[in-house]
C-alpha cells in the first residue's frame, strides 16, 4: 500500500517540492495514515471491549448484560459515547485548573502513544524501534502522572487519596513488571518486539510462557495492578473513595480516563500476547502440521494476535467477576515481598540456563 501511495503522490509533489522533500512528505503522509488507522481501530476495540466486559460479567452473574440499544445491545457503547460527549463539563472551584485540564490528556495520550510500537502482524508497527519494550514501560510510567495529577488537582480528599494510592501502586508494580520481562529479553536477545516474536517462533514450543512460566506469572499479576483493575483497583475503590482519582471529572474528561484505562488494558494484553504467547505466530509444530498456513498473506495473522489479546482481556473480566479487592498493605506485600523476588529468581535462572545451553558468549 505504501508503494502504491508513493507512486501516486511523488509525481504529483515532485514539481512543487523537489525529489527529496517529496519523498519525505510522502513518508510523513504514510505515517500519519498508519497512526490514524491504528488509533481508529483501537478505539473501536476499546468501545466493544466495554460492551464485551458487561456481557461477560453479566452472564457470570446470571444476568443478561446490555440488550436494549440495537440488536443484542450492540449499539450500547456508541450510545454511551454520545451521552458522555454531551454531558456538562463541571470543574470544581478548588481545582488547580491547568493541571486539571492536562491530567486526562497526559493519561490518554500516553496510552495511545504506546500503540505506536506494537507490531500487530509481521512487519506492521507504526514505529519499529529497537527499544520497543522499554518504550512501553516508559509510557506506562508517564500514564501514572495523569492519575496522580488528576487526584491532586481536583482539590478533593477522595481524589487525592486515590491519586496517592495510584502513585505508590504503579511504581511498585512497574518494578515487578519490568523485571518479569527481563527473562523474555534474555531469551530473545532483543528489546525489539518484532524480534522477540520472531525469536519466539524459532523456539521449539513457540511460546515463551512455557520456559518463562515464573516471569509470566509475575507479569500476569503486575498487569492487573498496572492498569488499576480488580483485584488491585484501590485507586478507584468505589466503596471507600467514591471513584478515586477521577471523582471530580465529568463529561468527556471522564471519558478520556475511561478510554485510557481500556486502552491500557489492551496494551498490557498485547504485551502479554507478544512476549509470552508468540504474538501473531502460531507454534512451529502447528505450522508443520498444516502447511497451507504459511502461504497466507501477513495481514491475516492479525486475527491470531487479536485472539491472544482477547484471551487476556477475558481473563481481566473473569478475575474482576471472581476475586474481591485486596487490602492496601496486602497489595504492597505481594508486590515487594513476592513478585519482585520471584522475578529476580527468574532472571538468574534464565541467565544461567542460557549460558548452560548456548555457552559463554
Amino acid at each position: 500500500m505504501t508503494e502504491m501511495l508513493a507512486s501516486f503522490l511523488i509525481p504529483l509533489l515532485m514539481p512543487l517540492l523537489g525529489r527529496e522533500i517529496a519523498d519525505m512528505a510522502v513518508n510523513i503522509i504514510v505515517i500519519l495514515i498508519q497512526i490514524a488507522v491504528v488509533i481508529g481501530v483501537t478505539l473501536l476495540h476499546v468501545a466493544y471491549a466495554t460492551y464485551w466486559e458487561r456481557k461477560v460479567i453479566g452472564h457470570m452473574q446470571l444476568r443478561l448484560g446490555p440488550r436494549e440499544v440495537g440488536p443484542f445491545g450492540l449499539l450500547q457503547p456508541i450510545a454511551d459515547g454520545v451521552k458522555l460527549f454531551f454531558k456538562e463539563d463541571i470543574i470544581p472551584a478548588t481545582a488547580d485548573k491547568p493541571i486539571f485540564y492536562l491530567a486526562p490528556v497526559i493519561f490518554f495520550a500516553s496510552a495511545l502513544t504506546s500503540l505506536s510500537v506494537l507490531p500487530f502482524f509481521d512487519g506492521f508497527a507504526v514505529a519499529n524501534i529497537n527499544i520497543g519494550l522499554l518504550f512501553l514501560l516508559a509510557m506506562s510510567s508517564l500514564g501514572a502522572y495523569g492519575i496522580v495529577m488528576a487526584g491532586w488537582s481536583s482539590g478533593s480528599k477522595y481524589s487525592f487519596l486515590g491519586g496517592l494510592r495510584a502513585a505508590s501502586q504503579v511504581i511498585s508494580y512497574e518494578i515487578a513488571m519490568g523485571l518479569s520481562l527481563v527473562g523474555v529479553m534474555i531469551m530473545a536477545g532483543s528489546l525489539n518486539l518484532t524480534e522477540i516474536v520472531r525469536a519466539q517462533h524459532e523456539y521449539p514450543v513457540g511460546l515463551y510462557a512455557v520456559p518463562q512460566i515464573l516471569g509470566f506469572f509475575v507479569f500476569f499479576v503486575a498487569m492487573f495492578a498496572e492498569t488499576n483493575r480488580l483485584p488491585f483497583d484501590l485507586p478507584e475503590a468505589e466503596s471507600e473513595l467514591v471513584a478515586g482519582y477521577f471523582t471530580e471529572y465529568s463529561g468527556f474528561r471522564f471519558a478520556m480516563f475511561f478510554l485510557g484505562e481500556y486502552t491500557g488494558m489492551l496494551i498490557m494484553s498485547s504485551i502479554g500476547a507478544l512476549c509470552f504467547l508468540g504474538g501473531w505466530t502460531l507454534p512451529g509444530f502447528i505450522m508443520k502440521a498444516l502447511p497451507f498456513l504459511s502461504s497466507l498473506p501477513p495481514f491475516v495473522w492479525v486475527i491470531v494476535f487479536l485472539a491472544k489479546v482477547y484471551f487476556f482481556m477475558f481473563l481481566y473480566y473473569w478475575v474482576r467477576a471472581t476475586l474481591p479487592r485486596y487490602r492496601y498493605d496486602q497489595l504492597m506485600n505481594i508486590g515487594w515481598k513476592v513478585l519482585i523476588p520471584l522475578a529476580l529468581v527468574n532472571i538468574v535462572v534464565t541467565g544461567l540456563a542460557k549460558i548452560w545451553f548456548r555457552g559463554m558468549p
Binding site: P98, I131, L134, I171
Partner: protein
C-alpha cells in the same frame, strides 16, 4: 543544518524549563515542568543515537524518581508553601558562586581538545544496536566501576533502612 536546529531547540528548551522549575511558586507545577525537562533531556539522548539511555532516562527519572518527588510535594502543606518565600535568604551568595563557576568554565573552553575517536562510531552502534554495545562494554571493560556504582547504591539502601528502623524503635 537540521541537526543544529534540533540541538538548538533542545538546548534552549532545557535551559528555559530548568528556569521554570526553580522559579514556580507552586511546587507541583515545578514538578510538572521538570517532567517536561526530563523528556527534553531524553530527546537530546535520542538525537545522539543513545536510545537505551533515553528510555532509561524516562523510566528511571520521570517514572520513579520524579514520582517520589511528587509524593513528597503532594504531602506538603501547599498553602504555606505558596505563601512562603521562594528562595532561601542566602541566594545572592549562591548566585555569586555560580557566576564565578560560569566564568571559569568559559575561560577553560579555550583549551578544549577533542578526545581520541574510539572504535564505537555512530555506524558501529547503529549496526550493533545501542543496547547491545552498552551492555557488552559495561559488563566487560567497565565491570569494576559498574560494581562500585552498585555498591554505593546498596550502601544508600541499607542506610535508608537503618534510619527508618531507628525511628520505629524509639
Amino acid at each position: 543544518m537540521l541537526q543544529q536546529l534540533f540541538f538548538a531547540y533542545y538546548a534552549v528548551m532545557i535551559v528555559l524549563l530548568s528556569l521554570l522549575v526553580v522559579t514556580r511558586r507552586n511546587p507541583v507545577h515545578s514538578v510538572m515542568w521538570m517532567l517536561l525537562l526530563f523528556f527534553h533531556i531524553a530527546g537530546l539522548y535520542l538525537f545522539l543515537n543513545a536510545e537505551f539511555i533515553a528510555a532509561i532516562q524516562v523510566i528511571v527519572y520521570a517514572g520513579a524518581i520524579l514520582v517520589l518527588f511528587l509524593f513528597v510535594v503532594l504531602l506538603l502543606n501547599l498553602k504555606e508553601e505558596i505563601a512562603g518565600r521562594r528562595f532561601a535568604g542566602s541566594w545572592p551568595a549562591g548566585l555569586f558562586v555560580s557566576g564565578l563557576l560560569f566564568i571559569a568554565v568559559t575561560l577553560a573552553l579555550g583549551s578544549y581538545v577533542q578526545g581520541p575517536v574510539g572504535k564505537y562510531s555512530i555506524d558501529v552502534i547503529r549496526s550493533e544496536t545501542h543496547t547491545k554495545a552498552l551492555g557488552t562494554l559495561l559488563y566487560t571493560e567497565y565491570l569494576f566501576p559498574f560494581e562500585i556504582a552498585s555498591l554505593i547504591l546498596l550502601v544508600a539502601v541499607v542506610g535508608a533502612i537503618v534510619l527508618a528502623k531507628r525511628k520505629l524503635r524509639s
